[in-house]
């Protein structure tokens, strides 16, 4: 892939899957901002800038996949909790199915590439030995 650095590829991939990952976390239970960010950060390499999660949350809300509401608790400061909507759950289910097929297809192609690369190295090594 000429003209696209390895870092840019990873960034694009990460950006593409971050939304479904947020939906997946919210599907288990509502979370407030910092909590959601921390949980995403636990997934190694998924989140490079915590601040970018908030624009993403706002876009998911604008798309109707997430709602937010303020919760006032006597013991903690007021927090804005994010909750997945039914539309968000449907979107997540659809993504999971697509993702499985997608990763299987990509894994298959990458495996073929890896095999051919290994064969070429073997042939080259054989030629060098002659």
């Amino acid at each position: 892939m000429s003209g696209m650095s390895e870092g840019a590829e990873t960034t694009e991939l990460r950006r593409g899957v971050l939304g479904p990952c947020v939906l997946a976390l919210l599907a288990s239970r509502p979370r407030f901002g910092l909590e959601l960010v921390r949980d995403l950060s636990h997934a190694d390499g998924l989140l490079t800038s915590e601040g970018t999660v908030y624009p993403l949350l706002n876009r998911l809300r604008d798309a109707g996949l997430v709602t937010s509401r303020w919760v006032h608790d006597d013991t903690t400061r007021p927090r804005r909790y994010y909750t997945i909507t039914d539309q968000g759950r449907e979107s997540l289910v659809a993504f999971r199915a697509d993702w499985s097929a997608f990763t299987a297809a990509v894994d298959g192609v990458l495996a073929v590439g890896a095999d051919s690369g290994r064969s070429r190295r073997v042939r080259q090594a054989s030629g060098d030995a002659k």
Partner: protein, 300 residues
């Protein structure tokens, strides 16, 4: 009560953030700013040390990156431009974020520059004085000896030179502007009958008691005012020089060059005359003063 947001590093980050978000719709920018402030309040204890603050801010990412993420996905061809406000609204949004002191300073500069500039433009834009209906030779002697000639659509009124005598003419001048114009003098260095500037006087009233007899009004020597949308008699006089014109020579004026003050500016205005006022010499005047003029050579 001190909060984590008061930490200098946090405050600096939030300022950068607000600047970076200036291009977003105001509601989006406000919401994102509030979310990140809440994040920082949750992540940082009020007494957080510098190392902790630095780590939290680093994890949050540069303010510009957050703003770029809010503007839209960078992978798209428009890089989020569709989500951004139109340029005019972005400018207005940015302007609203400026402190009041900046606006006051800006207003002071605008007033300091704008008012004088506006006044200058206004004064310069005022229309010039113009000729208004009547002319007459000042002296009845000249009036009686004037020869009027017409050629190629132009009219010339020629009077014989009367060496050493006061000669001249009067015209009515109209001020079409909305401001009083003050005639301060003559901008023409010579007059038809002498190599000196003619004296300019302005009537104190606009009364025309009898057309062609301007002597009925009072003049103010050295200039005078013409109120807006009014007219005044302007008198142009000189003492004719007997050595100025050779035998058969003549000189005239087709326009008055006047120095006129409008507001605080003084400009030169040219008033086109309906006829050329000219002075001519005759052999008699030339011969009579030949000896005198020889002594005065060279004549300018």
């Amino acid at each position: 009560m001190i909060s984590a947001l008061d930490h200098p590093l946090v405050a600096g980050y939030l300022r950068e953030l607000d600047d970076a978000l200036a291009g977003l719709p105001a509601a989006d920018a406000a919401e994102l700013s509030e979310q990140l402030r809440a994040h920082l309040l949750e992540a940082l204890p009020p007494d957080a040390d510098e190392q902790t603050v630095t780590a939290v801010l680093a994890a949050l990412g540069p303010a510009s990156l957050v703003a770029a993420a809010a503007a839209g996905p960078a992978s798209g061809p428009d890089r989020g431009e569709a989500r951004r406000d139109p340029p005019l609204r972005r400018t207005v949004t940015s302007a609203r974020r400026l402190p009041a002191t900046v606006w006051l300073s800006f207003a002071a500069v605008v007033i300091a520059i704008g008012l004088p500039s506006g006044a200058l433009i206004f004064w310069h834009a005022q229309p010039s004085l113009e000729f208004y209906t009547s002319t007459a030779w000042w002296s009845q002697v000249d009036g009686a000896h004037v020869v009027e000639t017409r050629a190629a659509g132009a009219t010339q009124e020629t009077a014989p030179i009367r060496p050493g005598q006061i000669q001249g003419f009067v015209v009515t001048i109209y001020n079409p502007s909305d401001m009083t114009q003050f005639i301060t003098g003559n901008a023409n260095p010579i007059s038809p009958g002498a190599p000196v500037a003619a004296q300019i006087s302005v009537s104190t009233t606009g009364a025309v008691q009898e057309i062609g007899t301007p002597h009925a009004v009072t003049y103010r020597a050295g200039g005078g005012v013409i109120p807006p949308h009014s007219y005044r008699w302007v008198r142009v006089l000189w003492r004719s020089d007997r050595c100025y014109l050779e035998d058969g020579g003549s000189q005239g004026v087709t326009g008055l060059l006047l120095r006129v003050r409008v507001g605080w500016i003084t400009r030169t205005e040219t008033i086109e005359l309906p006829a050329e006022f000219a002075i001519t010499s005759t052999a008699a005047t030339t011969h009579a003063d030949a000896a005198y003029c020889r002594n005065r050579q060279p004549t300018p």
